[in-house]
Symmetry: C2
Subunit: 188 residues, 2 copies
């Protein structure tokens, strides 16, 4: 597999409902659903990004149950998905890990609700990933989404998921599944 796709779920800095910058708590299903989608679509690693060590430790303990504890025998499919998960404090740490693994820093990719002058289509992004010459790291935000500064800093901004819809409040779990399918899925 030449495709080198990484994903990261950020719990900070993200917006809350009132567009204040906050840190969210880790949600159990963000760990499980997104790991399973990542494994299905051949993502190389899923970084759970949280600045607080206590939150990261809590998740480490939960993962241990599924990866080496009783859960690994009870449900080996979960084990396989959760092996992709790695806990990091910030995007920089995720990038350092990718550099260790790939010898290259990844280009960062985000989606936004708005179309930007430099927005890239899913078709084009698919082709870039297929070329395999660069690793890519797709960033997702919990809460009400990634802060503006993170969107602007990203190397690639994708088109909105459903620009024509009058409603755009997908859960981050749904958004990850849809974007992985668009970028990596093989369907007819």
């Amino acid at each position: 597999m030449r495709k080198r796709l990484y994903i990261a779920l950020l719990h900070s800095p993200v917006y809350n409902k009132g567009y204040e910058v906050i840190t969210t708590s880790v949600t159990n299903l963000d760990v499980h659903d997104i790991s399973r989608a990542a494994r299905t679509y051949g993502v190389k690693r899923y970084f759970l990004v949280h600045p607080q060590e206590t939150q990261r430790q809590l998740v480490e303990e939960m993962i241990r149950y599924w990866v080496t504890g009783f859960g690994s025998e009870y449900n080996p499919d979960r084990q396989e998905a959760l092996k992709l998960l790695e806990l990091v404090a910030d995007i920089e740490e995720a990038q350092r890990r990718i550099e260790e693994l790939e010898g290259q820093t990844a280009l960062t990719v985000v989606t936004d609700a708005r179309v930007h002058a430099r927005s890239v289509s899913y078709q084009e992004m698919r082709e870039r990933i297929s070329r395999g010459d660069m690793p890519y790291l797709v960033l997702f935000g919990t809460g009400w989404g990634l802060v503006k500064e993170e969107i602007e800093k990203a190397d690639v901004i994708l088109h909105p998921i459903e620009a024509d819809s009058d409603y755009n409040h997908l859960s981050v779990r749904s958004a990850v599944a849809i974007i992985l399918d668009r970028l990596m899925g093989s369907w007819r």
Copy 2:
């Protein structure tokens, strides 16, 4: 909008991990995530199918909070998504509701992990839905999925979501998001 797509999430009869036929409990996030995806993609109604009245009542109470209670003011986006939700005891009841709304019974659509002789592509299904001459009801199973009899009874069987992957254990929430995007999404 001429597209007449309905979805139903079945809690019975479905398989458990050992392929025994069971009834599952309602999961909070199956209500919220799937309602939001349904609303985003213009699904006409989301049927939550559970044979037990107590389970249906529990969900009704939760919905009331978001649709007419405090939650409706606090988070009107949730309200809008949850308005699509309807609780029914079985597929037949969902079909009777569709008949009331459309004057026609819907053709049922399922996905399966295997390719069947009569499996239909997503592209073809998209075109059929766009034609708008029939309502369609896509059935999803909780637990380890819809029982074989329901798959065989369905009018349309779609291709597996990711036939080329060596891993196919998406959550039902992810599967719904992906399939709605394939059938109804407008992306480039």
